[in-house]
């Protein structure tokens, strides 16, 4: 009887960021179902824990999985600060962490680590893409908004890496703030040509809703990273979102058999449109499957495992390759929220911003 693969899945399944964690989890589970509950031919056992978006809770859960359950892989974390709180403990045990979402710059540069692989993006990437796009649209100036936490600051830095115009104001607000009246009044008074906002999770829903209610959407175009404009946000905000441009590494209509099966079955199984998070969860499982297969199911061959992972696999985005720091090299697309003739509001791919884009930190990583 072959041994089972134990995968620890720690994610945010309750609270304001729950929608993200649930999507990743559902995507991951869908992939497992498509793989007959096996990874690389080995039966799989998934241990799920909710981190409640709290680093201490996550730390406790990870400890339990590492020391008590002795998992072979960990995955699932949504937020970078949670990942940073548990990363060291995971790497110390020489357990691979497959990130389906969080892509902190720390693990991309000097502190990069052989046990870390990210199947989504580096945190800056979607912002860089949007900066590039707003730059090509030749907006004179732009108003930037993000929550005051490291990922928020990184986001706007990423945007500014490619946007060369004037920044009217760069406003940081309290993390997990839900009422944006003060910030919206500031935007109205500043009269910028465009607004770029990084508002993950529930903050995004509220910001966009309130931006629309204040009547600003018609006056000042709003640009968002893909996180804030995907199916979950569209469901919550509704018509107000039509017309908004956003960036993503994945789109619904990517034309490959894996993606088509994923989108179709996700809709059928969960009765909703998949988001980029769901695709990332799905891909995380595919990556594990490919790597385990490559080492013939021998999980003790850590070096080979790593080599196999970085060599790439067939994902919902087509063949996906990685830099030595474990981050993907991939295309970034432009999407626009539109209302289809049937009334359904969807996010449609309308262009490609970057092709085979790498993250900005890879050169500082000593791993080869």
């Amino acid at each position: 009887q072959p041994r089972t693969v134990k995968v620890g899945f720690v994610s945010t399944l309750s609270g304001g960021g729950a929608a993200l964690g649930i999507d990743v989890r559902d995507g991951f589970n869908l992939a497992l179902r498509h793989l007959n509950n096996q990874l690389g031919g080995l039966p799989v056992e998934v241990i799920v824990a909710d981190d409640q978006q709290n680093p201490d809770v996550a730390r406790q859960a990870v400890d339990r999985m590492l020391k008590r359950d002795r998992v072979d892989f960990l995955t699932g974390i949504i937020f970078s600060n949670i990942l940073l709180a548990v990363g060291d403990a995971i790497f110390e045990e020489k357990v691979f962490y497959i990130s389906p979402n969080a892509g902190p710059s720390e693990y991309a540069g000097e502190q990069c680590n052989p046990y870390f692989v990210n199947v989504a993006w580096q945190n800056d990437n979607l912002h860089e893409a949007m900066g590039q796009y707003v730059q090509t649209r030749r907006f004179e100036n732009v108003f930037l908004l993000a929550p005051n936490y490291p990922a928020g600051r990184d986001a706007l830095t990423g945007f500014k890496r490619y946007f060369k115009g004037r920044v009217v104001a760069e406003v940081y607000h309290r993390l997990n703030q839900l009422d944006f009246s003060a910030e919206i009044a500031q935007i109205r008074a500043a009269r910028p040509k465009a607004v770029y906002a990084f508002e993950p999770g529930a903050m995004g829903v509220n910001f966009i809703k309130q931006y629309a209610e204040a009547g600003l959407l018609r006056e000042i175009p709003l640009f968002l990273p893909g996180f804030s404009a995907d199916a979950d946000v569209i469901r919550a905000v509704g018509r107000g979102m039509v017309g908004i441009y956003n960036s993503s590494q994945w789109t619904l209509e990517l034309n490959n058999p894996i993606n088509q099966r994923f989108v179709e079955d996700f809709r059928k199984t969960y009765n909703r449109t998949p988001t980029l998070y769901a695709s990332q969860g799905y891909d995380a499982a595919l990556l594990l499957d490919a790597a385990i297969k490559a080492v013939g199911g021998d999980l003790s061959k850590k070096d080979e495992l790593r080599k196999a992972m970085l060599a790439g696999f067939n994902s919902t985005r087509g063949p996906l390759r990685f830099s030595p720091n474990g981050y993907p090299i991939q295309n970034y697309y432009l999407r626009q929220v539109i209302q289809q003739p049937g009334g359904e509001i969807v996010n449609r791919q309308v262009g490609t911003i970057f092709t085979n884009h790498r993250d900005a930190y890879v050169d500082r990583c000593k791993l080869r």
């Binding site: 201490d56 406790q60 339990r64 709180a85």
Partner: protein
Amino acid sequence: MRWIFPTVLLGLLLAFPPIAAAMGLEFYQGLLTKIMIFALAASSLNLILGYGGMVSFGHAAYFGLGAYTVAILMREGVTSGWVIWAVAVGLSALLALLIGAISLRTRGIYFIMITLAFAQMIYYLVVSFKQYGGEDGLRARRPEFGLFELNDTTLYYLTLGVLLAALYLLYRLVHSRFGRVLQAIRENEARALALGYPVFHFQLVAFVLAGALAGLAGVLMAHYTQYASPNLLAWQQSGHLMMMVILGGVGQFWGGVLGALVLSLVEEILQDLTIHWQLGVGLILLFIVLFAPKGLAGLMRRGS
């Protein structure tokens, strides 16, 4: 016969790490370490809350400050564990002195809220320093102690030692002249003042001592998780410590320890059983308040 139970318990605690290693139970060794750290923090809170009648809703400030001191000093290249401990405890005491000196003007719910206010200020100040991790928190590597290497097992023994020493200190304290006056002030402040006791000074000294001990607990927490989390500073953490004390028994000597032990275990066990574990915790807490007014320590005392 009274000493048999404690001796056996202590023996078990001392022997646990090798047993755990042999049986693959390292996780539970970590859990015990964490419980002992919380027992220390909760006992320090019990000194002011239980014996001093000062309901501080800002105890997380010292707890978190201790942890952050470790992380920041390590980051800045100070790697001596002893130095870090001294600085952390000193800073926590100093912070408690400042907060106490202002807060002790108020009483009752106003005191609860003003201590919360200061803790919140510390929280927001700390997370505003991006170079120290902001909301993400900060890695806190384990320092060097010279005499021994700090790993999970030595940390376990270190924590056990610190907890025992602190409990002994607290025991002597609450039974000393100072401790009796502190409790008298809780019972009837105006009378204590009229008897000639400088009430404010007594309260402040206790407040500072509790802050210093909580800071030490925070240091151990940073050693344990190797990470200084802003959550250690958050009001929920203060509330959690308060729950431990109330659950264990306010002003009962073993209240802090019992509360930390039982609350952590209940959470740990229920979390494994059901995703609705908080329902279980809530029901247990409610049951205890309604039927054990003096907390678990009171319940046990009545039972024996």
